[in-house]
Subunit: 317 residues, 4 copies
């Protein structure tokens, strides 16, 4: 295989770019591949009516350990049942009471979508938009609110460790296009344009089983090789998500670029990336019924100007 460096990332970025493909003003990127027809087709997939969440619970036991200033969700109560007992709600008539709460959280601390404003280089993000548009006031382009009418379509799970008989892929395992194709074939599912591809590496399974997130955020991990950039582009996928922190393999395949696949996929291809997906329940269900394609719905919170969003992705089988 060719040796990769920052220059190659730029070359591939240019090669696998969708800038302008859907007009100058496009901020949806590959979500454009999810045409209304494909939404309808996806709605025809469910057979059992079972709905399965792919979200990790959002709480203090999450994976964050400080990298990049990220922390786990901080959930605080504004009003409680205990307050009611203590008389703090006696201003309400009739003995009727309530509880209320709030959260402080990095938008990418748990199960989440990266927006197309999340990464950039050479002063530009997806669509050629200037990085100066992303300041303390938020992102004025490519922000997560632009995809409020999504993400609904056909989801496909590729359960790599299950098809190879491992409990999980080892850290550092590079997932190449041929691995994805082989997995799809063994599972008997075809990957189609407009699909939301969910790739299970088993890394989260291991962390939960070992009750340790050590290394999960930013450490060595199995993940997509940057050599998948072309495959993702040509397959015309709408989104790709994994059960890892960062979709792609760590250590990265080039020393002089951190997360090269992010750079190409988000900035050039305009491909939505999903991370920290909890795929075990879905994987078990797919293994049980042998159906790896399903209706998928994972709406982001349209936080104005945000560069990511926590989500609760649902598979409807």
């Amino acid at each position: 295989m060719q040796e990769l460096d920052a220059r190659t990332v730029r070359e591939w970025g240019e090669r696998y770019s969708n800038w302008g493909r859907w007009g100058e003003d496009d901020e949806l990127g590959t979500l454009n591949f999810i045409t209304p027809e494909r939404v309808l087709a996806a709605c025809a997939l469910p057979r059992s009516g079972r709905v399965i969440s792919c979200a990790l619970p959002f709480d203090a036991r999450g994976p964050q350990a400080g990298l990049g200033g990220r922390y786990n969700p901080i959930h605080t109560m504004l009003a409680t049942g205990a307050d009611a007992l203590a008389g703090a709600q006696d201003f309400l008539p009739g003995g009727f009471n309530y509880a209320d709460d709030a959260v402080t959280m990095p938008l990418q601390c748990g199960t989440q979508w990266d927006s197309l404003a999340h990464v950039f280089y050479d002063g530009k993000m997806y669509g050629g938009r200037d990085v100066r548009l992303v300041t303390s006031r938020g992102a004025r382009a490519n922000s997560i609110d632009r995809i409020a009418n999504g993400v609904v379509g056909r989801g496909v799970l590729l359960d790599l460790p299950r098809t190879t008989g491992q409990p999980w892929l080892e850290d550092g395992t590079r997932i190449l296009p041929e691995h994805l194709d082989a997995c799809a074939e063994r599972q008997g599912v075809a990957i189609e344009p407009g699909d939301v591809l969910l790739v299970r590496t088993g890394m989260m399974t291991r962390c939960l089983e070992q009750k340790s997130w050590k290394g999960y955020c930013g450490g060595p991990a199995p993940g997509l090789s940057v050599h998948c950039a072309r495959w993702l582009f040509e397959r015309e996928l709408a989104a790709v998500a994994t059960d890892t922190w960062g979709v792609e393999v760590i250590p990265n395949e080039t020393r002089d670029c951190f997360q090269p696949l992010h750079m190409i996929a988000l900035r050039n291809t305009g491909l939505l990336l999903g991370e920290i997906f909890a795929l075990d329940a879905l994987a078990a269900a797919c293994a049980e019924d042998g159906r790896y394609a399903f209706l998928f719905s994972a709406p982001p919170l349209p936080i104005t100007g945000a560069v990511g969003s926590p989500i609760n992705p649902l598979a409807i089988k």
Copy 2:
């Protein structure tokens, strides 16, 4: 009509209770009405493949003005494009950069689900669970994370002002069961068990048009009469949501109980309530194609122990 007081609320609560209906351990409440069969049936509804968000943008321009300690979402950046320009990310190799962000927000400050731990009286919440379970550490029962595998099903919009030819219902307008039935009939849609009912009053339309949220939170509002409690119970609805702050009419119909329908619906019926839904785009689409039933998906963020969740509800037509 019978005069209502706190005693009546308790009587009706007992009458329209689903406690124990789905077993002692049930924490789903009326979401149990969304059987797998009904999910499948809902998936067969879409005709156009169009997806429409019912979320108000989450930002500082939201409706909150301090009531109950609630405030609008506070979005802050952890890393920006501007930082990159300023050299703050030069520790990353190859000129590759990123943006990251966080939010601080009350969970019920915008478009949201109330969990079944949100209101209570006489020391009990839905299922007879003790309010002592809701403390500063969160809710240990009936919390929003319990419905992580939801909410997906058949959605029905009742667009009250459109069927009566008004731009919006006046503040204080009581919506009675007969109004709901009449609206459904005029729209040519049947309300079925397991439905997620979206009731448009036009109040949000007015606030957005007048660029003022004054009175929206906690002030006089159109909304469901507490006399709908029986109707909601008997129709076996899964959830009810409105474009208002609190689903039900304000002023409340009894002086000695604030939000009596909340008390009965959430605590006794176990009915999921949705608030601050942005229904204008959906209403326009329904008016256009004449179809008021659709596939509906509005997964909550499974924040452990939370008593509500911001959501981005999607209608798939």
Copy 3:
């Protein structure tokens, strides 16, 4: 008087600059004027031993209304007495319980110091440091933590409305050097190098009396004229604080520069500015004993990289 514009601000900035005065590495600015000798002298001022806080309470009733993304402090409980009653702390032995809490607040939402990294122009802040040093990661120079060993010294109150017999100065009142000198003279106090000057305009008195902060943040206000820039520089003051949002008069005296005195004082003179000081109790005490000089202590929280800090300034008389 000369007409002021942005060019004049730059000229005066150059004229009243202390860059380099205390060495290239200086980040204390005019706090350097508070020599140990002056601290000792200030300690000799108290006669009664009375201590008076000049802080506005930090809570939701504060003055912020959203300007610049600022909001009032959000105080949340992590553990409560009510929790204890509800049994949430039964894991602690012996029936012993506790309460705990947290705050989310802009650092300049209430009584506060501006750090020397708070304002800048032409790419430079105090000491000629590049504004690129102030990013989402905080300020890497001139931040508030650099003055952790302060602010202790001689405080002097100038109670302008009291000496002129008004309840408060009208909005838009320009305070000129001669007003300050006249007030000092009438009060029988001399202003000395190294002093922390507290200027009472009465604006906060009015807001509290009228129970309205309308216009307090960013609206028309009495305050120091930009013509005080030279006076502040020549008097070698250590800090200046007022009972207003922004120290200086609004409307600003030049259309093409917002807060010109901030620019000159913070960026060039390196003068610490204090805002939203609650001076009524101190003013009453000074009027009572006729002594307008006192020992003053207002330590900032050394939040690393912060550009301001909430404070509780104390006058010891």
Copy 4:
């Protein structure tokens, strides 16, 4: 020594109680010992005019590791110099720019005062006030804002490891009254009524030297024995602070009561406790000039209803 249990804590609590000593409405507790005369006397202590901060920097490198839901301060920028470069502040005229920021932090995550509402048992806190007064809405009695006009007085440092020739006291070291007396004697300082006593154990020195806070929060630590309860009461101290997480020795001296000294001192004696004080610079200065008494100023932020406050304690020598 007598074996301690929860019953003894209650007995001693009753014995060393100051409830009612300063009237029914008192919320100052032992701060009442700091009379104006004593403030004046303290002002006469400084000899050099040097001011020394006893605060640990407030940042992500702080000691918190999640215990009790506490986390280190989260500092976020609302506006930056980088923004200015990127043009995000071009709405401001004349090329003048600014930075602004915010913090989210537990009030007791760093250098701090415990308020008299921080701990309680048998349904009561200091002064016999009901714990029902401490709910999600904050503390309605004994809160930190009640001591806004403080804390200023005579400070005394007892530098235990220095007088015994150790770098730091070992974890679990019980500090008894005789150790305190011996240390004071060796240092040549008398402890007087109304003093703020700062006890250096060296634990923070060790953590900083070893670059690890492991065990600092809640783990074994040197600290005051609960046998100091009487001594603290009889000496009529105003406050006691240490360089540890919790003032008192851990493991606690009774299995069935966590932090027994907290219970007696805060709830019964009404003694202000300070924690996570950074005492190394002060200790060095005291060792140098041989003077262990100084003017001390550590104003809390008067956050309404708060049960603690971050502080920057200053020693003026």
